[in-house]
């Protein structure tokens, strides 16, 4: 019964699932593309060197991918469930038990994830071939090796996406259906501590490696990801504490400060992807730049190995950038749309549309500053140990150019999405806006 309702829900309102579908699709594509290297390596007649290259590429990006798919799907689903709180409340009032509602939402998510993974099969097949050609061109893999797209790619792609979707949906809906009897935050605190501790350990383990180690970039990069997530979860609390001291005056500032102080939950949905985006992009791009300079300094031409590492790094940065941007835009879009009623109430209390846009602009500014600041700290935490081990210096000497570009992208995504969505939300009259069911 609940599954039928889930199917109906997906069919009737496909737009609502677009963000989840996109994350599932992209996630499955990445996981399948890289895991097809595992299939390729497993075929008969592949030499040991090729096998090694292929498996390590699959291993590194595959695990990154799994982590990101989980975060992206979880973030889009959390937003989706929060948006539908009134529908869920209605179902509960019509006699649905929490477990029935859970089955419905989990069912929906699994269906969406399956569709996303299914759509990803052909693109992954093509992307896998391109990736293999890349390896062949650089001489890392023998020309005789044929691309294989087999059980490992399919299985890992479907399993990762579906398990991530089901798990994320379960957590999101449990949060929505269980009446809050104790203050939330125990699980979150654990997550923050775990992310920060593991991140710190990962960053510190950089020092255990030698400057020429091939894997030197992995521990600080992982560390930066984990620290970014931890900081992103921690940031709303700090912003909340600091925001009252900021010299924000005027009607829009007054509203922005008061609203930011109360809505911590909404903020973490935006701050996690924002810090992750800034932290990861900054860390990887600076470490790659340091690596390039170190090779140049050594006076030897770049080896194919080094070139390959660079390609792989850029691929990873690209994946992370795309994912965090989707999460960021989705969170901002959903949370701003969700505030249509609040905007209507503010207008009825005498706010002009300009004042509301001004308020959104101030909120975006505070979010961007917080996000890029924490992202920079997470990035430095990874890039500094790397630079110290790889070269004699402490700080990468590339200057602020790369970081400023990343900040510009983050600011553009945050401001653009918030302001455009808010402007759309202001199109209805204030009376219509407040009478809409949220």
């Amino acid at each position: 019964m609940m599954f039928a309702l889930a199917m109906r829900s997906v069919r009737q309102r496909p737009g609502r699932f677009a963000a989840t579908l996109l994350s599932a699709f992209l996630g499955a594509t990445i996981v399948m593309t890289f895991n097809s290297m595992q299939d390729t390596a497993g075929a008969r007649g592949v030499d040991a060197v090729s096998k090694d290259t292929l498996s390590s590429a699959a291993g590194v990006v595959g695990s990154y991918g799994t982590l990101l798919v989980f975060f992206a799907v979880a973030s889009t689903l959390t937003v989706n469930v929060r948006q539908r709180s009134s529908e869920i409340e209605l179902l509960r009032c019509s006699g649905a038990t929490p477990s029935q509602i859970r089955r419905m939402v989990v069912g929906e998510s699994v269906v969406v994830a399956l569709v996303g993974a299914l759509l990803a099969v052909v693109p992954s097949l093509l992307a896998g071939r391109m990736l293999l050609d890349l390896f062949k061109d650089s001489g890392q893999v023998a020309d005789s090796v044929d691309h294989a797209f087999g059980p490992i790619a399919l299985y890992s792609g479907f399993a990762t996406t579906v398990v991530a979707a089901a798990g994320a949906a379960f957590l999101a809906v449990r949060r929505a259906t269980v009446r809050r009897t104790r203050p939330r935050g125990k699980g979150r605190r654990f997550l923050v501590v775990a992310a920060l501790v593991l991140g710190a350990v990962s960053v510190c383990s950089t020092f255990a490696l030698s400057g020429t180690d091939e894997m030197l970039m992995a521990p600080p990069a992982y560390g930066s990801i984990l620290l970014s997530v931890g900081f992103g979860l921690l940031a709303p609390g700090l912003l909340k504490a600091l925001v009252g001291r900021l010299p924000l005056t005027g009607p829009s500032g007054y509203l922005a400060v008061r609203i930011l102080r109360v809505q911590a939950a909404r903020l973490s949905g935006v701050l996690v992807p924002l810090t992750l985006f800034t932290g990861m992009a900054t860390a990887t791009l600076y470490m790659q730049a340091v690596e390039n300079d170190a090779i140049d300094a050594a006076g030897v031409p770049k080896s194919v190995d080094a070139k390959n590492l660079e390609t792989l790094n850029l691929v990873i940065v690209g994946i992370i950038v795309v994912f965090s941007c989707i999460m960021l835009i989705n969170s901002l879009y959903a949370s701003t749309t969700y505030r249509r009623k609040e905007f209507g109430q503010q207008r009825l209390a005498g706010a002009t549309p300009g004042q509301i846009l001004h308020m959104i602009g101030l909120e975006s500014l505070l979010l961007t500053v917080t996000g890029v600041a924490f992202g920079a700290v997470a990035a430095l935490a990874g890039a500094v140990p790397f630079t110290m081990v790889r070269t004699d210096g402490v700080l990468p000497d590339q200057g602020l150019g790369i970081w400023l570009t990343i900040v510009a992208v983050a600011a553009a995504a945050t401001f653009g999405t918030s302001l455009l969505t808010a402007r759309r939300a202001l199109k209805d009259s204030a009376v219509q806006a407040v009478s809409l069911a949220a």
Binding site: P251, R258, G344, G350, A351, Q355, V434, S435
Partner: protein, 263 residues
């Protein structure tokens, strides 16, 4: 406590003296062509300042449209709306908002308080948005007068429906508007809370000299007003002074009959 300041009376020379609200041939049509509904059909009336008027009529008679057009929340297709001698012009939303800020207060059935703000913050919000000076003491007095002096730091979701509506009344009073529009203010309340709210509205008129226009479908609520305007099919269908519950109820029944007979 809610004495009028002179600030707003300057330069509003036009219009008859003592009229808080004046509508002249106000019309509003929704939809277009064959599906068009004429919600207001050349409605003309004026309300003296310091009066409490209820607007009643069957569902679909145009009550809500009347309130929205008169309060500057919607633009009439034609006709003139004058609040406290100043004519409302159909400009941008920002212009309409600025027009409303100092002249009009609102009370809604669903309260429309901001959940993120406390009782005190909700009350002063209109002043903050209009960049007007906030007299904290008077805000506290106003909230005490509506019985919420000890709830200043609470958020709306910690209050009962009746308490929330009383916050909304305090919010409508602090800006010292010429006219307070109340849209079914007791529609979501129990009898006792409804009575408190209606008495507060009465007090706003009697004690503080405000003008209150209240849309309602409840004859009991209407009986608290000085007079009742009846609306049917977007037109005025009569007026009743010193209304009683029974008289209003009887008139409404006949109004319904008339509409049915014409349909």
């Amino acid at each position: 406590m809610f004495r009028r300041t002179d600030r707003r009376t300057e330069g509003h020379g036009a219009g008859p003296a003592g009229m808080a609200l004046r509508l002249v041939k106000v019309s509003k049509t929704y939809g277009s062509d064959d599906s068009a509904v004429r919600a207001l059909d050349e409605v003309t009336f004026s309300l003296a300042s310091g009066t409490f008027t209820a607007v009643m009529g069957p569902s679909g008679s145009g009550k809500s449209t009347l309130l929205q057009c008169a309060a500057g929340l919607d633009r009439p297709d034609s006709g003139i709306v004058t609040v406290d001698g100043a004519q409302m012009t159909g400009g941008t939303e920002a212009e309409l908002t600025k027009f409303r800020r100092n002249r009009i207060g609102f009370i809604f059935q669903q309260y429309n308080l901001l959940d993120t703000l406390t009782v005190a913050q909700n009350t002063i919000l209109p002043l903050k948005l209009a960049r007007r000076r906030v007299n904290r003491e008077r805000v506290r007095d106003t909230l005490t007068a509506v019985g919420l002096g000890n709830r200043l730091g609470h958020r709306p979701d910690q209050l009962s429906g009746g308490q929330r509506q009383r916050v909304a009344i305090a919010r409508a009073l602090v800006t010292e508007p010429s006219v307070i529009f109340a849209d079914e203010p007791t529609g979501a309340l129990d009898t006792r809370s409804a009575r408190d709210v209606l008495l507060l509205l009465q007090e706003a008129v009697r004690v503080h000299g405000r003008t209150v226009v209240m849309v309602t479908h409840d004859p009991v609520a209407a009986s608290y007003a000085d007079s009742v305007l009846f609306l049917a099919d977007g037109r005025l269908a009569g007026q009743m002074h010193q209304p009683t519950v029974d008289a209003v109820a009887e008139r409404l029944v006949h109004l319904g009959d008339d509409v049915m007979a014409r349909a």
